[in-house]
Symmetry: C2
Subunit: 227 residues, 2 copies
DNA sequence: GTATTAACTGACTGACGGTCAGTCAGTCGT
DNA sequence: ACGACTGACTGACCGTCAGTCAGTTAATAC
């Protein structure tokens, strides 16, 4: 009898429906201003039911983050699987990350927010692990591309793929967060000073600076670094 | 009669005392878990009184951040005023930022948290401006050092001091936030993979990569970039 | 048709941010 | 010295919200 299997499927489906609802509310209000009552209403369930599927508001928040991770992972995988030379692949990944920031702005902001250790301590061990795993998959893609480039002589032999994947990841994030902050805080002082700055170009330039430092002398000859 | 002046002084002093108390609680609990009742108790005042001095919990949080900005600003100014060559000055600033992260870890975390736009929208216009200003002073120090290095031929003429100060700032922050996240999230999976990584060195290396890209050909001859 | 199980509900609880009518110490004018 | 006044301070109170749980409903098993 397939009753148990069907029940299992329905349960997973319900979990997804709750994330659908939670996502909208969190995007709109952020963690602090979102209420479980509103999420329940949007999901057409009672508040109590939400707690049958997720342990806490924070767990639900992290579940939405996991969905975001899946989206970003797919974008990274596509960017890394075009068959182009490795130096182009890393560029593609950088572009993919920037595209993610622009197209999935709300997820990006949730990512930033979730790094907060106070939040992490509110999340169940289980959910934290699930989320950490999906996050590591993303880093793995970057690491693999760097490894590949090291092997084919694009990057210096002393480059550590793990370390450089950390650095590139942290750098891109840091720059995008800064851009986001400057754009969203309506301080005239800063806005005026930055009126000349082309943030899209700045992101590309800054990432290229790091990549340039990783290149072998040979590869640098074919790489034009613009500042 | 100096009564009014004395009252004014006492009022400022009281504001500082409240920050003293708030700081301890926010360091310990973070914004969400901290309660105004606990801050009031620590400050030996009633909750109502806190609201005579600060408009909201979020405003008080930002007031603590401003204090942190002052500390970091002083560290940057000292790092930039040793009279050493400009390339060393930028290195000093990078070191100062890292020292701040290590010595004033709690402030650093609050800085990260405060970039969140949902928080910003809860803060009064006035406090937001005050805090943005103190933040811009810090960036100004970096910008001035880059400008100086550009003039003395250390950095390429096409380098934009404003842009590069953004990039360096965002980069260092991004890397430190990542380090902090890896260290604080007790995920065995990540910990094992990173057992070999020397994060202090990684920070220095990654920052040097950016600086290297900014150097003129001449300056690169005297700069050893280790990966 | 009845018993059992599982999904779901929503009223309730405790905690917390923020308010405001009222208290009281210190100051001023006479 | 004394009453009037000011403003710093208080804490009981309000509305809101995360999380709980006794009870209802619907589906399945026998």
């Amino acid at each position: 009898m397939g009753t148990a299997e069907r029940k299992e499927r329905e349960k997973l489906h319900r979990k997804e429906e709750i994330i659908d609802a939670a996502e909208k509310v969190f995007f709109d209000k952020g963690l602090a201003m979102a209420t479980m009552d509103e999420i329940a209403e949007r999901a057409e369930l009672s508040k109590g039911t939400l707690y049958l599927y997720y342990k806490s508001k924070e767990d639900l928040y992290m579940a939405v983050i996991c969905r975001g991770h899946q989206i970003l992972l797919k974008m990274f995988q596509q960017a890394a699987a075009t068959g182009e030379p490795t130096i182009k692949l890393l560029q593609n990944i950088g572009e993919a990350y920037f595209a993610f920031y622009k197209r999935h702005h709300d997820y990006f902001r949730m990512f930033s927010f979730s790094e907060n250790s106070q939040l992490q301590s509110q999340v169940s061990e289980e959910m934290r692990m699930t989320c950490a795993e999906s996050g590591q998959c993303i880093g793995g893609v970057v690491q693999a591309v760097i490894q590949q480039g090291k092997e084919d002589g694009t990057y210096r032999p002393e480059v550590s793929p793990l370390e450089m994947s950390f650095v590139l990841w942290a750098h891109c994030r840091g720059v995008m967060e800064l851009i986001d902050h400057i754009k969203s805080v309506p301080s005239d002082g800063i806005k005026r000073a930055c009126s000349e700055v082309d943030f899209d170009k700045l992101y590309r330039k800054s990432t290229a600076m790091l990549v340039y430092a990783m290149l072998t002398e040979e590869a640098r000859k074919n790489f034009k670094l613009e500042l």
